[in-house]
Every structure is written in structure tokens, then in C-alpha cells.
Subunit: 349 residues, 2 copies
């Protein structure tokens, strides 16, 4: 099952929400320099980007988006500009890390290479059908625990790798206000497959995925009315993560969560209160979104991620559309996204 992923098959996508990427890229140089970087500039950002020398990269900005969109109404502002990188890439794999992240250190103090770990996660199988108590059986020094059926030990292709973060935990605005000084210091040395039918809150901070198989399921679908530029002011990644999980389950592929970690910079805590107004909307929507995605069952006729996303969009409109207009917009965006994905994919870029 496990196959070797070549460096040339990977694009690293970086969304530039701030203009100066110098210290960010210099810090990541040891891990990023072997790869092609797709740097996507937030379309709301006016200033020119500052990018240090020595990186094989391409910058995409508002004019590229407008050209590619040709009338489609996808909104790439803020963190959603990541998705433009996923769209425009021609590689089999994407690794995406937020521009407020630094390299993390493991329990022994060594710097963590998140690119290598995402690649490991994606090139070894996932095991969604039965839980292995000693975590990823494909890690060095690990295996399947007694009682694990041999027929399930081949596993399935892992097509989504969700990494974690130290320091600033990815809490929502209310939790951030209640615990302004809480920092995540627990480095958990494990990778695990998220079991089939279990839904999880994927964060877009630090992920890797098989673009060829799963790409269109990473979709800029749900945009909050008052969405801001901070992670805790958005739920677009949570939405697209559940969409991706449902698609993986349906296609018989797997999702891993755990290593690699990145280290997230502190932010001004005072902003959380302001953000609460914006994200309160997202917090309320989750009460409808989670049961919805838990109930999604896709038709056997859906055999690609594109098919699945279109089918989910139809269910969103039907089951959630009457509750809130943001869901109708999400359904529209998902359908527009699949069209765009197909159009860009068939064009010569």
C-alpha cells in the first residue's frame, strides 16, 4: 500500500495575510527549500509582498484570481485565499501552513519537519475501520495490537493529514476569552486515523492532502457574514474539513490526525472580545452543521470528490437552506467551486 512521494509531486501553499514573509520563510527555509511554493496573497492586502531570495516560488494575487474566476463568485479573501493555491496547483499533493506559524520542537528539543511528517502520513496507509490502541501501526517501532483483524491491516490510502499546533491552541473566541492565558504545551507524539463516520473539527492551520483525489473537497464553502482575518473568526476550514471527511469515508480513504506540530504565535488577547461578535455566529451554526454532516450518506453514483461535493451541496440546500441564508450561499459556492475546479483543471496553465 505505501508508495514513495517525490518532492516534485508536492506544492507548499502559503496564504499571505501579512505582506512581510521574510522572517516566516527564513525560519522555514530548512524544510521548505526543496519544494515549490505557491504563495497566495490575500486579495484584500494592498502592500507588496516581501519574499526573501532562495525559494522556488510563484506568487498569485487578486488579478490572477479574477482571471481564473471569470465571473464565478468564489470569495478568496482572508484565510480563504489558501483555496486559490489548491485550485491553481498542478501537483498531486499539497501541504499548507499558516503564515503565523513557526517550526515546533519535539519533546527532545529537536526541530520538527512538518513537511516530512505530512508526507509520511500520506504515503503510509490509514486504518479507519478499527481503532488501533497503540496509535499509527505504520510508525517506526509500532504495529497492530493483538485482536486487530489481519484482513484490515492493509489499511486504505490516507488522503488527508491534519497536523496540530503548540502554544496558541486553536480555540473559538468564547474559549479564548475564558482562558486568555492558556497555551498548548502538550506535545503528543502520535498520529492516528480518525475512525470512519467520526467527524472532527479540521483546522486549516497545518494540513497536507492528496490534491489529485481529494482536492475539490477542500472547498471555500461556508463564509460567515462578519468573517474576519483570524482563524477564530472563521469556520471555513471546519466546514471544508467535514466535507472532506465525508468524502474520504465515502471513497474508502482515510484521514489522519496528530503529528506534525507547528508552533503558533501569540496574538493580542484583547482582540478575542471583538472577535466574539463575529464568531458567535459560527459557534451557533456548528450546532446545525455537525448533525448535518453526521447524517450525510452519499449515493454510490458519486465516485469522485467532484461528484461528492456536488451531492453534498444539494443536501446542504435541501436540509440546511431554510435555516439560514449562509447555507444557501455555501451550497452555491460548493457548486461553483466544482465547476471552477474542472475548468481550471482542463485548462493549460
Amino acid at each position: 500500500m505505501s508508495m514513495k512521494i517525490e518532492d516534485s509531486e508536492v506544492d507548499i501553499v502559503i496564504a499571505a495575510l501579512c505582506p512581510n514573509l521574510t522572517s516566516f520563510l527564513e525560519e522555514w527555509q530548512p524544510f521548505f527549500s526543496r519544494f515549490h511554493l505557491i504563495i497566495v496573497k490575500d486579495p484584500d492586502l494592498e502592500d507588496d509582498l516581501q519574499i526573501p531570495a532562495g525559494f522556488d516560488h510563484q506568487v498569485y494575487s487578486k488579478s490572477d484570481m479574477e482571471r481564473a474566476l471569470s465571473g464565478s463568485s468564489i470569495n478568496f479573501s482572508g484565510h480563504s485565499c489558501h483555496y486559490f493555491g489548491y485550485l491553481i496547483s498542478r501537483k498531486k499533493y499539497i501541504i499548507s501552513i499558516d503564515d503565523d506559524c513557526h517550526p515546533a520542537r519535539d519533546n527532545s528539543g529537536a526541530l520538527v519537519d512538518p513537511v516530512a511528517q505530512h508526507i509520511t502520513n500520506l504515503q503510509t496507509p490509514a486504518t479507519p475501520f478499527f481503532f488501533n490502541t497503540l496509535y499509527d501501526p505504520f510508525c517506526q517501532g509500532a504495529d497492530f495490537v493483538r485482536g486487530y483483524p489481519f484482513s484490515l491491516r492493509n489499511g486504505v490510502d490516507c488522503i488527508l493529514s491534519c497536523g496540530l499546533w503548540l502554544n496558541l491552541a486553536d480555540y473559538d473566541a468564547p474559549t479564548q476569552i475564558v482562558k486568555p492565558n492558556e497555551r498548548n504545551t502538550r506535545y503528543v507524539d502520535a498520529v492516528m486515523t480518525v475512525p470512519i463516520r467520526a467527524m472532527m473539527p479540521m483546522s486549516g492551520i497545518n494540513i497536507g492532502f492528496n490534491r489529485e483525489v481529494l482536492g475539490p473537497a477542500l472547498v471555500p464553502g461556508l463564509r460567515l457574514v462578519g468573517e474576519g482575518k483570524r482563524r477564530w473568526e472563521t469556520v471555513e476550514d471546519i466546514w471544508s474539513g467535514m466535507c472532506a471527511k465525508v468524502v474520504c469515508d465515502h471513497l474508502g480513504c482515510g484521514v489522519k490526525s496528530g503529528l506534525p506540530y507547528v508552533w503558533r504565535k501569540d496574538v493580542d488577547a484583547g482582540n478575542a472580545m471583538e472577535s466574539l461578535k463575529k464568531e458567535w455566529e459560527g459557534v451557533k451554526l456548528m450546532e446545525e452543521i455537525v448533525p448535518f454532516f453526521q447524517s450525510v450518506r452519499l449515493p454510490a453514483s458519486a465516485i469522485t470528490a467532484e461528484d461528492c461535493v456536488v451531492a453534498i451541496a444539494g443536501m446542504v440546500r435541501e436540509k440546511l437552506g431554510t435555516l439560514n441564508p449562509v447555507y444557501v450561499q455555501a451550497a452555491n459556492a460548493m457548486e461553483a467551486w466544482v465547476k471552477l475546479w474542472k475548468a481550471v483543471g482542463s485548462s493549460k496553465v
Copy 2:
């Protein structure tokens, strides 16, 4: 949701498969001495037990089993003698640790108190309905990640805590033969809820549970024809773990896996080859057992663990009984066990 568990509500159950418990108990003294110990002697063991002074304990042996059984055909030999301790206890909680285990050390070199950790796991809620990417949200310094629905944050009662083990990984005999020198050295500092409907291979080496709610689901059901005295020669704990998981899911309670670790002693690797003949039977049966337990749906009329175990026994007889006589015996044992549990529970011991 979280409630304080008192020391007086806990029994520690130790199955004595070897007569000399001196070094075992002396090593565990710092963690065990506050609790009442139920020591159950393997009925096949001839020699007298050696137990050091200073422990509040009670020993149960073959004659106690015969008296309690009064004609019932439950077989308590080997590791199954643990179950006699679960039956005879009058406490709300049980913690059970194999007699080939030593205290483990965490990543900082500190000795791990598995009793305290099992108690923590059992007195804080489980969250089976949605996966929290930063592991147990009730651990110190942790919380629910952005996107986790607030309506699910109260969680449910955790009634089963499955601990792990360092050094000798709990592999089956074939894996043990293939990797005779592999040792588990990875201390993963995490506890997590096993999601609803996900089945896992519970090992009986190191567990804690709420006896009052879940007790009868920890059942000595499946006994292999050639069952031996080593863990890798048995699947009784795997069977009872899946039974317990199905019951927890049905009763709306949770199962945690992860911390605490214990350190398992090496064994003579040469024995694995001999054991392979015995456990090959178990390995083959897992291919039938896992899909069976994944398919079990219990009727709403089953409102206690007793009800659930009787219902599962009926399904075992119906769906698995024709495949292999061991399943018919398992169904019979499960029904006999529930009767015995009720009889012992209502008697004045």
C-alpha cells in the same frame, strides 16, 4: 458532569498467575496501598501465594469460585480469573493490572500512577460523538478545539478506561514471531475518547471501569480451545472489550484509551512459536468477531448492561453459532455470567 471518586469506592483486582506476588506488590506499593486489593488466584495454580505485609487485601481461590458458581460452568482459569474479582467486588469502580507489569515512567522520567490516572479518566466526561483533535479536552491545559459544538461539550459518563503499556507491546503471536525484538518505547502523553461505533481491541492488561454500570459487560465469554496462560494465547479480553464498547455506545456512555501506561516485563521469545498454534485460532476468529460486533444494534428495551449482554448473547448464537462451536459456548457463558452476576449481586457477601 465530573464527580469525585473516593478511594473507598475502588477495588484493585489482581489475577495471580504466578504464586510469588512479593516483588510485584512491593513495586506497586506507593500506588496500591491506599486501596483494597482483590487478589484472585488462577484456579490451576497449586502453590500458595506469597503476599507481602502491608496491603489491605482479600485472596480468592478455586474453592471460592466453586462456592459462588454453584453449578454454573464459567471457566475462570488463566487470565479469566480476573473476572471472578469483578464479580465478587462490591465497589463502584474496578482497576485491574496484570501481575507481569511494573510501574512505567513518563517522558520526564517520573513514575506513573496508573490508579490515579484511571480514576481521572473515569471521573471526567468522555466525548464519543465528535473527535477533539487536541485529545482529551478535560486534561489540564486542554479544551475543545474551534468548531467543537457547545451542545456536545458536556460529554457523557466515561465508564471504561483502557490503559496502555510500554516495553512488551501487546502483539498477537504471529507479530511477536515476526518482530521478536520490537519493544514499545513510545510514551504518548494523551487520553482520548474512542468515538461512538468505532471498535477497538481492548487489552485486559491495564484497565479501569465503572463496575456498577458496566460490570456484567466485562464477561469471560470467548475461550479458545487451546487457550494458554499468556495474553497472546487468549482473546477473552478482546471479546469482552468489544462487548463493553457496544454496551457503552448503546447506554450513551464513553470509553477512553491512552494514559496510563504500565511497563510489561519481557518474556521468553521462544514461546511465541509454540503459542502460535494456539492463537492462530484466535487470529482467525477475529475476522468473524469484528464484523459481528460492528453490526450489533441493541434494542431500546435493553437499559442495563445485563440486558445488553443477554441480547448480545442471543445475537452471537444466531449469527455466529453456526460458524464455530466456540461461539455457542461464548453465548452460553455470557448468559450464565449475567445470571451469576445477578445472583452474587443480590446475595450478602
